[in-house]
Point group: C2
Chain length 335, copies 2
């Protein structure tokens, strides 16, 4: 039985196993340096559907099915499905859950959702409530931009600090038994708000939450940066990552060499003009189920800390002048 440790963390006593992972990405993500780790690269972001929203629903559902297919499982072999996405009322997840017909928990943690699902999925398994769970999250550049900022047809110039919402979905199967990387520990984030109100600079809003969760994780679990081969955030982008490095330095911790960010890994920032880098629920999901899972399986990484950050931004409340709260959840995965 798992145990809470420290203020915000959990030690899993029988660490759940990641037995399968799958992802689907859009054309831009397929042109990036991680292409070989993606299962399905779309030529067309509409994915054969009538709208970007329906395309995103299909991406989330198909990546979940693919994760099951890879290990020859059917939907009825799964105890629970956990999912979330960026769209209002998490429609991608709800419509995917309609197709999958698996008992369902809907989550919302903005871009932290993938790790929120990993935490709750691990809790269900380590607590003895499930043998096997399926989890998934997604984002879509074209559905997200028109919901959160400007429809792309308007051609509004993007600011240099803005991140590019990734068109991507990723899914995992977590099991009580099996072969694969294991989820050993996790830290549940608190909502942190340092007063950033610029909706074109999510990185700055999220960096304090990432710093808070990383420091708390080290303290709660009696680990430190030497405990991990890699600490990977998802998704701070270049502005947020620089802010995180600074915030940690102020606390006496130099993690510059050990930190990477899913939003910076997914695009070739030299050739692809993605401004501050990628973002979106699907970014960390696709990078983790692609490159990172592969390296964990090959034991290139023995210990990895995945810290997913969410800017809990909402247009209506931003327009009312409120600042943007953020949250970061972390899981420690062993190869």
């Amino acid at each position: 039985m798992g145990k809470k440790c420290g203020q915000q963390s959990i030690n899993f006593s029988q660490p759940p196993v990641i037995t399968s992972g799958a992802n689907i990405v859009g054309p831009e993500e397929g042109e990036g340096p991680l292409a070989s780790g993606f299962d399905w690269i779309l030529d067309d972001p509409l994915f054969g559907e009538k709208s970007w929203e329906m395309a995103e629903c299909k991406m989330l559902e198909e990546s979940a099915k693919l994760a099951l297919q890879k290990i020859a499982l059917q939907t009825q072999d799964v105890d629970f499905f956990l999912a979330g996405d960026l769209l209002n009322q998490i429609i991608s997840s709800n419509y995917a859950a309609r197709g999958l017909e698996i008992p369902f928990f809907g989550l919302y943690g903005a871009c932290s959702t993938f790790v929120e699902a990993l935490l709750l999925g691990s809790i269900l398994i380590d607590g003895g409530f499930a043998q096997r769970v399926l989890l998934s999250s997604s984002s879509h550049h074209l559905s997200a931009e028109r919901q959160f900022r400007h429809p792309v047809e308007q051609g509004v110039q993007r600011l240099a600090t803005a991140q590019w919402t990734t068109t991507a979905s990723g899914a995992l199967v977590l099991e009580m038994q099996g072969e694969g990387p294991r989820v050993n520990r996790g830290t549940v984030g608190k909502v942190v708000d340092m007063g950033v109100s610029d909706v074109h600079n999510m990185g700055a809003a999220m960096a304090p939450a990432a710093a808070d969760t990383i420091l708390t994780h080290f303290q709660d679990t009696e680990t430190n940066s030497d405990s991990y081969d890699l600490i990977v955030t998802g998704d701070l982008g270049s502005v947020g990552q620089a802010a995180l490095v600074d915030l940690l330095k102020q606390r006496g911790l130099d993690l510059e060499e050990k930190l990477q960010d899913c939003g910076l890994l997914i695009y070739d920032t030299g050739k692809q003009d993605m401004h501050a880098g990628g973002s979106g629920c699907g970014c960390a999901a696709a990078v983790f189920t692609g490159l990172l899972l592969q390296k964990l399986r090959e034991k290139q990484y023995q210990n990895l800390l995945l810290v997913a950050t969410g800017a809990l931004m909402s247009p209506i409340i931003s327009q009312q002048g409120e600042s943007i709260p953020a949250i970061a959840h972390a899981v420690a995965v062993t190869g």
Copy 2:
């Protein structure tokens, strides 16, 4: 340690205890028949804030604080906070979590969210991951109408089948030990969609999900209608409740005498013109933390099944012609 039973249900081996509950409601709810069970009845739905959205954030946060205050607890005594609401990006919950500073899981299940939180909270406790969790959900008539249907200033005539989104929030404290009603069992819903696309008739969209979850609960947990003093849905309203009774009769089950609905209990349907009855995340939350919790404590109810139903409706996807999926989660509470 808890155990999954049947396809979708969980038996808690050390049933978590509901040690405190609190709620805040709007003026209309305060004029209804359950007024004596509400802790705080607002004269003004703005609650001293500049917007309805900020009023709803405050309601969710204040009801959570009140649930702690009633048993002399501080926020730092709580392991985890679980919350969700109807607003895009669950802003009421996120901004409340910012104020509470408790490690936070954000949820979205439309009007089923309160029971989704009760299920996950009970899992955290029965699995040994937490000693104490706080959970809350809310809805606000004026913020919900302008988001989902028509801003009330437009004065659009409401259809007879339409439900009235309740202005209410409710919060509970769940603990591993203590005195109070206990959460014994639960059933996690599947998403069900029978093709209803009328956004003014949520009851019809949700009734099939409620029927599915009730029947599955009986089968999974080897219970039947005799196992419960009351089966209370939240919130089908009059149209949805009639549809549920019919659907169950088609399956050979007559529950008409045993069924009540939070959306019908909260208003005086004879005097108050709420059309098909109340709805919204806050409705089941306020009715449960008010009337029902009181009757459970007084042992007037020994066994109660709370079935919260969510219409997973989203304007953008409804406008694209999609039908409305629905979900229902259930918990069995012993007085």
